[in-house]
């Protein structure tokens, strides 16, 4: 196992407000890394720095380095970074005007792929990878918005997978879903880790415990502790971590 993504002293601001401070962290290849912490601790900001989504917010600023396979992503075009580091968001956000097929194909199409065969292939593969194919194979021309919440989120995962990223960032991917849909997404995460490097931000500590191999705990914009998930939940090193994960926290 080697570090696929190496975060080196990243700090990020929203205007004058410092959101995360001096965070250094490694994400291993073909594994799931969880990031937990209370609301506003900067965990979403951190993963948005990993694919340069942070800077899409007006007045947002980043300092530090993020190395993907040893190369600083801040020295490359944002667009190509995002093709290699995909993202799934908290609320399922399929493109409302597009069909299921078009949603999955969007990433390729809008990046210039025209060949129908290639698109068909990618849509099939991604939907299968996202464990959605069997449920939608007869209604690919239906609107993505017609699916249930859990299906929409898997559609979004398929859409992200279609551009063949190497890293997949998930920002609280299950917080809008019911337990069954959540379990399906978690199964999916388990399957995906053999091909991808996954980073998942979650409010649900049990979810991190279930899916992640390593877990990082953040508080007030700082990285408090990072370690093997088992260790972190059985014998955390920091008192702050302990009081957070045991729920004795404001």
């Amino acid at each position: 196992m080697s570090a696929k993504v190496h975060v080196d002293k990243i700090s990020a601001w929203y205007g004058p407000k410092l959101a995360i401070q001096d965070i250094s962290l490694d994400f291993e290849e073909h594994s799931v890394s969880g990031i937990i912490g209370p609301s506003g601790c900067g965990k979403s900001t951190l993963i948005r720095c990993l694919n340069r989504m942070h800077e899409t917010i007006p007045k947002a600023r980043v300092e530090g380095q993020v190395l993907l396979d040893g190369q600083d992503i801040y020295g490359q075009p944002a667009v190509s970074v995002r093709r290699r580091i995909g993202m799934v968001f908290q609320k399922p956000n399929p493109f409302p005007t597009m069909s299921i097929y078009d949603n999955v194909a969007a990433g390729l199409r809008l990046n210039g792929v025209r060949e129908r065969k290639k698109l068909d292939q990618a849509v099939l593969e991604s939907l299968k990878q996202a464990a959605l194919w069997d449920e939608v194979k007869d209604s690919l021309d239906k609107s993505g918005a017609s699916l249930s919440g859990g299906q929409q989120q898997r559609l979004c995962i398929a859409r992200a997978l279609a551009v063949k990223p190497e890293v997949l960032l998930m920002d609280e991917p299950c917080s809008a879903l019911d337990p069954i849909a959540t379990a399906k997404i978690e199964d999916l995460i388990f399957d995906l880790k053999k091909d991808y490097t996954l980073v998942i931000v979650t409010h649900n500590m049990q979810q991190a415990a279930r899916v992640a191999e390593t877990t990082a705990f953040m508080y007030l914009g700082k990285l408090i502790e990072v370690g093997r998930t088992r260790e972190l939940f059985e014998r955390p090193g920091e008192t702050l971590t302990e009081s957070y994960i045991t729920g004795r926290f404001g």
């Binding site: 500590m205 939940f233 059985e234 014998r235 302990e242 009081s243 994960i245 045991t246 926290f249 404001g250």
Partner: protein, 241 residues
Amino acid sequence: MPQAAERKALATGLQKLNENMLTLAELSELAVRKAVDGLTRFDLETANEVFTLDQEVYGLQLEIERNCIDLLALHAPVARDLRTITTSLKITTDLDRIGRYGKDLAELTLQFRDKPVVDRGDVARIREMADRTISMVDTAIDAFVRRNAETVRNMIEVDDAVDQLHDENFRDLVRRMSEGQLSIETGARYLLVNRYFERIADHAVNIGLRVVYMVTGDWLPRIRAADRAKRHDGTKEKGAT
């Protein structure tokens, strides 16, 4: 740190668990003490009380086990909470065992009826074995109650001393039996008594090690196998790690 949440339901459950654990520990220790009393003073009545205590221990152990399962299922505890509950779950077995050895000792007392302990030396030896093991159990329970790992870290060494004593007694009994100073039947019972105390001490060590895990999260190696193997040339089977 922001104002702390209390997690009242879990806290109440943990408190109840702690109280039950205390009672259980007291009951099983009492069972052993009474058994020793009965044995050394050849007091059949006291020995009989032990049977009731053992029943109570068993019942309470079951209740604690169920409580622990409930807490695990309902609160998905982590970190210290998780370690407290799982440790309790494991320790109850040790405490139940200790209570059971108390019962076994009481049974032996009843069997000694026609051949009471006469040799003062034997009584003294039983006393010594009993004192050492009971103090180990005491230390372990105290560590659990106080959530203090320091007093139990050297438990293995204390246990070594008990083991040594056990071995000495064993050799002495075997010698006297072979020389005909002791009837085979009485000698065999003494051997059992000797053995029960040694086992109780082992359970005390278990409890101690689990308390260390509960408090610090560290797993101490239970047995330094190499050292042990040398010292106890195969007279005991507990060497499995």
